[in-house]
């Protein structure tokens, strides 16, 4: 089976200003998204996520390289009937009402009226907008627009869903709901490809991630494999240790932080951990907690970004 998304050497530059200065948005991007995966496309602001997605949807024409979706050249009209797309901070025809809006987009797929309306009602329920079916989009809040945008992307029951920052503008509950919808779609066998710059969005749910920065792909792979599984450091908290003893611990800890009675120290080396614990206890201190720290996605991200400059 062909990949859901395949990108090969994709480049895009824009011309800006009076003199047509070149701005390189993406450079020689190549990666694949397998069918059935929930793929997080991760990168800081201006990394080139939106540009990549627009090229996939045929909204912009690449300056170099090629892209395929569901085995068809990106930009082909026919294949779009099997794809759903939510643009970044979407705007819609504001004079339409919620249900009317979904009905209109359904009609562009030539879905029969009856099926369409039923599907539209289902989707409104899915994104928790049942109450807003008869409300003009003009009166929707930002979060509501984001939700109806997601519903709009699903009206044709797509095999591949491409979402550009689906969670911006949503409160924590809204974010969770969207996350649940994405997981549900994946569980139904669909491919979900979404972009974000928020790490916690991908940390919990993604099968695969791709990381971009400054228009270049930094890495792709399984999240668990990308992250360093080794324990990076321990954070030990204790109380009632006399200052002289605390001073004596200094060579083995990198960070000391006093918080009322509690002292937190960071121990970078695993082999020193037990020594420090017993030393504190011998001197009459009380250990409160010992927390091992693995590399978080956050730290991984920073490490990769630093490396790529």
């Amino acid at each position: 089976m062909t990949a859901a998304i395949k990108i090969e050497g994709l480049s895009k530059f824009f011309r800006v200003g009076f003199w047509g200065r070149r701005v390189q948005a993406i450079t020689d991007l190549s990666f694949e998204v397998r069918r059935g995966d929930l793929f997080g496309f991760l990168g800081p602001n201006g990394a080139g996520k939106t540009t990549t997605i627009k090229a996939l949807m045929g909204l912009i024409f690449p300056s170099g390289g090629q892209a395929w979706i569901l085995g068809k050249k990106a930009g082909e009209v026919g294949v779009r009937s099997r794809v759903g797309y939510l643009p970044e901070s979407p705007y819609f025809y504001e004079y339409l009402k919620g249900l009317e809006f979904l009905d209109f987009y359904g009609s562009l797929f030539q879905i029969p009226k009856k099926v369409r309306v039923k599907k539209a009602e289902e989707l409104l329920k899915l994104v928790n907008l049942e109450g807003a079916a008869d409300l003009h989009l003009r009166k929707y809040s930002k979060g509501m627009l984001q939700r109806i945008g997601l519903a709009q992307a699903l009206i044709n029951d797509p095999e591949l869903v491409i979402l550009d920052e689906p969670m911006t503008g949503l409160d924590p509950i809204g974010r969770r709901e969207i996350r649940d919808v994405m997981v549900r779609l994946r569980n139904e066998g669909k491919t979900v490809f979404f972009s974000t710059h928020i790490l916690s969005d991908v940390e919990m749910i993604c099968d695969q991630v791709g990381i971009v920065n400054k228009g270049k792909l930094i890495t792709t792979g399984k999240l668990g494999e990308l992250l360093n599984p080794r324990i990076e450091y321990y954070e030990i908290s204790f109380s009632r240790l006399n200052p002289a003893e605390l001073e004596g611990l200094k060579p083995w800890v990198t960070n000391t932080f006093q918080d009322g009675n509690l002292v937190h120290v960071t121990v970078p080396a695993e082999e020193h951990k037990d020594g420090i614990i017993s030393r504190v206890q011998k001197a009459g201190g009380t250990i409160h907690s010992v927390i091992p720290h693995r590399e978080s996605l956050e730290e991984y991200f920073l490490r990769q970004l630093n490396r790529s400059g």
Binding site: L59, F61, F92, L108
Partner: protein, 255 residues
């Protein structure tokens, strides 16, 4: 076909609720109504003044409406970013343009119909009565407006609304004075001027072909052939500008 209608219908819904459009229309309707009262003045007893002024209103205000709805069409979709979702559906770009254009023609039809109705209302009180022959002039004016709408749409594919308005308006004006321009250019004695005005005359549509208003007002005979030829002339230019629009629109990056 169904998709085409869906887009056209949505465009119609969008444009028909524009306040500015209503203001233009109301102004036109008032002017047409006013022509009836002009007739009451002793000097202008003739009912022809009603027809003359009404038809002129339909043409001029129709052109303003055409330009107004045409120029914002593509630009607004891009500016408001509504175009991303539409074009991500299985709709080709030429198809999208065509659907939008058809929607505008629906809006235009409603506007012309309202102005025509008001004209007949005013005429009903004169000795000319409801003369359906006048509809021939209205029809050709509508063809003219179809062309102006397409030209505005063409400009809206690559310039801002303001520039597109200026260009479309120039087109409208030049379309009427192109004959005079050519004569003027030839008389000027300057080789460059005569060549330039000659070229304008050759290339740009001559809107006088759609103007049978004078003949209608004075009840002169008009052959069906003339009407059909003018219609074909209009459709020919619409096809040309649609093709040009497609060429530009199909290569556009929606960034």
């Amino acid at each position: 076909m169904y998709k085409l209608f869906a887009i056209a219908n949505n465009t119609f819904k969008e444009t028909i609720r524009d306040r500015i459009l209503y203001n233009i229309l109301i102004f036109a309707v008032i002017l047409i109504g006013f022509s009836y009262f002009l007739r009451k003045l002793d000097l202008l007893q003739d009912p022809r003044i009603v027809i003359d002024l009404s038809l002129a209103c339909i043409s001029i205000f129709g052109a303003i409406i055409s330009i107004f709805i045409g120029i914002g069409l593509v630009y607004k979709e891009v500016e408001k970013r509504t175009i991303y979702t539409i074009l991500s559906k299985p709709i080709s770009r030429p198809f999208f343009l065509l659907g939008k254009y058809l929607g505008l023609l629906m809006t235009l039809l409603v506007n012309v119909a309202i102005m025509t109705l008001v004209m007949y209302l005013a005429l009903a009180f004169t000795e000319r009565g409801i003369d359906l022959g006048i509809l021939r002039a209205v029809f050709l004016t509508y063809v003219e407006l179809m062309l102006i709408t397409m030209i505005s749409l063409f400009f809206s594919c690559f310039t801002t609304t303001t520039l597109a308005a200026i260009f479309s308006l120039s087109f409208y004006v030049i379309g009427y004075v192109t004959d005079d321009l050519k004569i003027l250019g030839a008389k000027s004695g300057s080789y460059l001027a005569s060549q330039a005005t000659g070229l304008l005359y050759q290339v740009l549509p001559n809107l006088n072909y759609f103007n049978i208003r004078g003949a209608i007002v004075h009840s002169l005979p008009i052959s069906l052939e003339q009407i059909l030829l003018s219609t074909a002339y209009g459709i020919f230019y619409i096809a040309i500008f649609y093709t040009l629009s497609i060429v530009i629109f199909s290569r556009k990056d929606f960034k």
